[in-house]
């Protein structure tokens, strides 16, 4: 009898690369074109605002769209993969090879995350190009205008340029992109868990989006229902259960501040990274508990 390793990263990588190929050949990267159009449109608004405000608006629209595309793509791509494998019986041929179910789940999740990661890098490159170009144009125009006016000192000009740069292309923006990626990873893990027992992709997509929305209202809802004295014990318990079951997506909300030029609070970044890993582990474990004994 030929030996089979207990766990094979090679098999996980094979399923992940198969998933990447599948998503690429489904022409999913076409959404990058839509994203590029949004960014170009945002970059060409001519608002009656200061250059700093205009840059801030470009960043808000571009990074908001990037965030939306990342989590929505993670949900849709993940929800399409496992139910489709099951419907098409491709799963039979994969699981009848020496593949453990945990390897299959990890491979699918890994493939989706690679595509989400590459997409985010591409979207960030598009954003960075647009913001960088606009920032340079704004700085040049502002310096020229202030010098031509003749009333401003070098310090005044440097201060004004600093204000524009504050809203321009800064390395901290990469942290916001990382937050989008980690949020998409948690959403994908939740979607994988749902797809292990859901009967259709549509159901999985709808429930995943609901979970995502509830996860955003976590802090607000729990502070309202848990601390209001008029609520019954049942409501309080229900809220506690929801708090445990649904990830808190407000965890990633600090990225909005980073996009708007606020300083990065590093303890929050570490907390985000740690909790993302914990959520991934919990949802993969739950998925495995359902999937390992599932009959096809």
């Amino acid at each position: 009898m030929r030996p089979v390793p207990l766990f094979s990263p090679g098999r996980v990588a094979t399923i992940a690369s198969g998933t990447v190929t599948q998503l690429i050949r489904m022409k999913t990267f076409y959404f990058l074109l839509a994203f590029a159009l949004v960014v170009v449109a945002a970059g060409n608004f001519n608002l009656p605002a200061t250059p700093a405000q205009e840059l801030s608006m470009i960043k808000k629209v571009s990074f908001g769209t990037m965030d939306l595309f990342a989590w929505l793509f993670a949900i849709v791509a993940t929800a399409l993969l496992i139910p489709r494998d099951q419907e098409d019986r491709t799963l039979y041929t994969i699981l009848s090879k020496p593949v453990r179910r945990v390897e299959y789940l990890l491979g699918k999740l890994g493939g989706v995350l690679v595509v989400v990661g590459v997409s985010l890098v591409a979207m960030y490159a598009i954003c960075a190009t647009m913001i960088g170009v606009r920032e340079s144009l704004f700085v040049a125009a502002e310096v020229e205008a202030m010098q031509a006016d003749g009333r401003y000192s070098e310090e005044d000009i440097a201060g004004q340029v600093g204000l524009i740069r504050q809203q321009g292309l800064r390395p901290e923006l990469a942290i916001a992109v990382l937050a989008f990626f980690l949020k998409a990873a948690v959403v994908a893990a939740v979607t994988i868990f749902l797809s292990t027992f859901a009967s259709s992709s549509l159901f999985t997509i709808i429930v995943s989006i609901l979970v995502f929305l509830v996860g955003h209202a976590h802090t607000m809802a729990s502070s309202f229902w848990l601390h209001e004295s008029g609520n019954s014990a049942f409501v309080r318990m229900l809220v506690k259960v929801v708090k445990i079951l649904i990830p808190d997506f407000q965890l990633f909300a600090f990225s909005e501040g980073v996009v708007l030029g606020e300083a990065v609070v590093w303890p929050l970044v570490w907390q985000m990274g740690g909790l993302t890993l914990a959520y991934l582990a919990v949802f993969l474990l739950l998925s495995l508990l359902v999937f390992v004994d599932k009959e096809f």
């Binding site: 009898m1 089979v4 094979s8 090679g10 094979t14 489904m26 041929t93 020496p98 453990r100 004994d293």
Partner: protein, 292 residues
């Protein structure tokens, strides 16, 4: 080799599989106390009508389903053991592989799942494409394959890791007679090469042509099992086929039969099957179209 001779390729013992129908507390017994063995190196056919439990039995053997009672072993290992699956090549009924992959990519994908890499995998891919006569379509995506081509690439993926046991679920379902003949020839070739083949089908003529032993399943139970000769030979009757016999010779034979107290039950010209006729015509057509 010793293990191959002594350990059965498949050993199903008292297998029962019960499905519950939702929340209604109703149950369906798909397989009922089923026992059989598939010896290493033979072609075993499990036949039965739709819903007789063939596919369920296969899924339990493949580890895709757990038995409610009893056990299924592959080369002595529990069917849920991952090492057992390394010895199995499986072709499901109406296989739908990833349509976005080409034939060669499909074989490489399944080969990698079995731990194959590099030159060994490239060599095996080329061998299998040749075996199933799909070298010309190796770089075409499966979305453009015909039903017969899909079955053949499915058979190739089943063989990619050199399994000792090949499980085929309705291998020729929906395939035209020529494609069906190609698959049948491949099964016979596999037997000659020492593979054990376990197939499920309700196409009885096909099973009769390729199987060494057959089990007849009906409503989840094994009704008859044995070699083809045991199952279909009619005791006490003999068939004699002659070529170029004159009417006088036939008359003398009839007289001899009558003298011996035997009886001629049927007399006439042997007939070819419609399938054979179709294949002959198609092959003749192919030869005529060959450039001279």
């Amino acid at each position: 080799m010793k293990e191959r001779m002594s350990t059965p390729a498949v050993e199903v013992s008292n297998l029962t599989k019960v499905f519950s129908l939702g929340l209604r507390k109703e149950y369906v017994v798909a397989v009922d106390n089923l026992s059989f063995r598939v010896e290493a190196g033979e072609v075993y056919g499990l036949i039965g009508p739709n819903g007789s439990g063939k596919s369920t039995t296969m899924k339990v053997v493949l580890g895709l389903m757990a038995a409610s009672k009893g056990s299924a072993k592959v080369f002595g290992l529990d069917s849920g053991d991952i090492r057992a699956r390394n010895e199995i090549g499986f072709l499901p009924e109406n296989p739908y592989f990833y349509k976005h992959l080409t034939g060669a990519e499909t074989l490489r994908f399944y080969g990698k799942l079995c731990g194959m890499r590099g030159a060994a995998l490239a060599k095996r891919t080329a061998e299998l494409l040749k075996l199933v006569d799909l070298e010309g379509a190796a770089n075409r995506r499966l979305g453009g394959y015909s039903k017969g081509m899909l079955q053949r690439i499915g058979l190739a993926q089943a063989l990619v890791q050199h399994p000792r046991l090949v499980i085929l679920d309705e291998p020729t379902a929906g395939v035209d007679p020529i494609g069906s003949r190609q698959i049948r020839d491949l099964i016979l070739r596999l037997r000659d090469e020492g593979y054990t083949v376990f197939l499920c089908s309700h196409l009885l003529e096909q099973v009769q042509e390729v199987c060494d032993r057959v089990g007849i399943l009906f409503r989840g139970r094994m009704r008859r099992e044995g070699t083809l000769d045991e199952l279909i030979a009619i005791e006490g009757q003999t068939t004699l086929t002659l070529e170029g016999a004159s009417p006088a010779l036939l008359e003398r034979l009839r007289a001899t039969v009558a003298e011996e107290g035997a009886e001629v039950l049927a007399e006439g010209h042997p007939r070819t099957s419609l399938e054979q006729l179709f294949i002959q015509i198609a092959e003749r057509g192919g030869e005529e179209n060959q450039p001279s």
